[in-house]
Symmetry: C2
Subunit: 402 residues, 2 copies
């Protein structure tokens, strides 16, 4: 069996944890499996590097920033290689050049295009554990790129797909996927299985366990994904195409505080306005989430949407620089917002889900700012301060506790 195992930065933050990871990989290796380990940079190393960069240049060029940040994972994999050596296990560390991991050209937010498997296969055939840098790639100019948030998860899933691995295990500091964040909703329940689509919505909506890009990729290549804890041997949650029906309408509640609502007010009410606006934003590589367009009145309309908080300044600047072209009157920004969502494949055939959620929020006296729905989720934008209360109210309303 070929297993890809991914460990995040906290799992390799010091000597003890590095050996903990090495020993967990050894269990698989000694059982006769081929093991590929994907690592992030140690602990807060990426933040340390970003601080170094900003000390030199408060707007560091993204190409050079990626050149800097990719050293973080290279340090992790080299040290892990040394740990395996100390345990008398043959291992080899590889960075994005050595694999090679080909990505698009966008520095800071590249996407994996193709992974060469020849070198990894060769090392696995030589009975080595292969330790690969997560989060990084190389582009067509032969420059380092990074994959943006959740990058190491994406690396692990993409490697599992390219190698036709039997399993991709994502080790985190939680022991699986819960119906809601247990720190906020104490009676949340751990799920044994969940579908890609449900996980995708939970991830997108802030469940925080997995990044949606990695889940998308797992779904696309049908990679069996397991989320489990690096601290205990609990079984975790398996994410796959079809799960056995548990009679559960809703699989979970998620919240995302890293959101900013931007409203562009007084746009001319004619075709092409939305296209021009979101084309500008897309060109700047800014991810837009909930979009709401008001009904036109007096020849103008308003468009509101949410973006990740760290991209909101860029988004606002782009719009302000193009007010004339967009023929907009005003831009309004609100950073004190959060998205709360309920997710579940079962809700497709049940029109009462949204109503039940709104009722729960009304009961908790929480105002709803925006609403967005898909076939398997309902998301509301609310004040950030109400997030925890909203999660508990919704979790209770749907009876998701154990």
């Amino acid at each position: 069996m070929l297993v890809v195992k991914k460990f995040g930065g906290t799992s390799v933050a010091n000597k003890e944890r590095i050996y903990n990871v090495a020993n967990r990989c050894l269990e698989d290796y000694r059982a006769g499996n081929q093991v590929v380990v994907v690592l992030s940079a140690m602990g807060k190393q990426t933040d340390v590097l970003i601080d170094m960069a900003k000390d030199i240049n408060d707007k560091p060029p993204k190409r050079e920033l990626d050149m800097l940040l990719t050293t973080g994972e290279q340090i992790s994999v080299a040290l892990m290689g040394m740990a395996f050596d100390a345990l008398n296990v043959p291992a080899v560390s590889l960075n994005a050049f050595q694999v090679a991991m080909h990505t698009t050209s966008v520095y800071g937010n590249a996407r994996l295009k193709r992974i060469d498997t020849e070198r990894i296969r060769h090392e696995l055939d030589n009975k080595k554990i292969v330790v690969v840098t997560g989060f990084q790639g190389i582009n067509k100019y032969d420059d380092f790129t990074t994959l943006g948030r959740g990058g190491s998860d994406t690396t692990a899933v993409a490697l599992a797909a390219a190698l036709h691995a039997d399993k991709c295990e994502i080790y985190t500091d939680v022991d699986g996927v819960y119906t809601a964040d247990p720190r906020i909703v104490p009676n949340a329940r751990k799920m044994k299985e969940i579908t890609y689509d449900e996980m995708l919505d939970l991830a997108t909506l802030g469940a925080g366990v997995l990044h949606n890009r990695s889940v998308e990729l797992a779904k696309k290549y049908n990679v069996p994904l397991v989320v489990r804890s690096s601290l205990n041997t609990s079984e975790g949650t398996t994410i796959k195409e079809v799960v056995k029906v548990e009679g559960m309408l809703i699989s979970g509640v998620a919240a995302e505080k890293n959101a900013t609502r931007i409203s562009v007010i007084g746009l001319e009410d004619r075709p092409g306005v939305a296209f021009r606006l979101f084309n500008l934003i897309a060109k700047a590589n800014i991810n837009v989430d909930m979009i709401l367009q008001s009904i036109g009145r007096d020849g103008t309309k308003d468009i509101s949407f949410t973006v990740p908080e760290d991209m909101s300044d860029d988004a606002v600047k782009i719009i302000e620089d193009n007010m004339d072209m967009l023929r907009a009157h005003q831009v309004d920004v609100n950073k004190d917002v959060a998205k709360v969502s309920v997710v579940g494949a079962g809700m497709m055939s049940n029109p009462g889900v949204a109503a039940k959620m709104f009722e729960a929020l009304f009961g908790a006296d929480i105002n709803i700012n925006m609403i967005s729905t898909s076939e398997i989720r309902v998301t509301v934008l609310i004040s950030e301060k109400d997030t925890e209360r909203a999660m508990r109210a919704v979790h209770d309303a749907f009876g998701l506790e154990d």
Copy 2:
């Protein structure tokens, strides 16, 4: 004009120094020159990484150690790239993969074989300053290697040779090559020019300014080398094939404390003994320096030689493991030794140099342990504690002061 400029770790140890280096490079760039900058890892970063490695594995595998250490220079060049950006100068940082710098396969002590110049040329043609990682390369397995001591100097000279640069400037914390270390011999004189051969002997014998591998390479490809200070604009010392005769017999006095004398005693006095001994040592990549063989007596002979201190344990172990094959009786080790040398092209035609040196040492009551001479130098091995006194005595005897 194309200039290669190399700065060591202390020159890029913090923000202020990084900008100091950037500004020095800018002077050349603004004067219309093409500039390639070679950097070492920041300050004590390499030592920090080595400590991290030893914390994980007290004998870290060399392949993984190189994987770890090469992150040091990558951090330096990325930050330098950001500094140039802040100064509004187009620049690009490149590591060993990106250049590419091809080396032999020996981890920890590789030698440069070939440097691809296409990428660097392309970036220079685009009016960019090119910032290259020193000290590192890649081998035929596509693994990182490091070049060992003086590696960044070697990178700079090799790049200058490959690019047919007009000049290779090595920036250090001293402002040139002196007739002796000014910290030990206060009246030492800075030389304006020196030949490759003289510099080679001074470097080999511990002058400490340049590593002999870089000087060898400069001589081989006739790269005009300048040693100068990163702290002031003093002209430094130019190293080239022929220098104008200054009427000086001796160009300098150098000392090297990083030496260990190993004596193999009671070797059978027959052909092939020296070959077998040094073949063993060479296979372990240990550099042997002074070699002295006693005259055979009673059918046996002794061979003494010096090695760098950090390689002496390895050398002794190899010999001890092969005592039977070598048919040796005993190995004797002395780490408390130092080499003191006088160097100068002028001494070839003057048989009195060695005698004058020995006289000076005798006058200072310093015992000579071994003697070795070449056409342009005389080296003696003495007790380490006598080093400074010996240097001053010899410097005075040859009248090298200002």
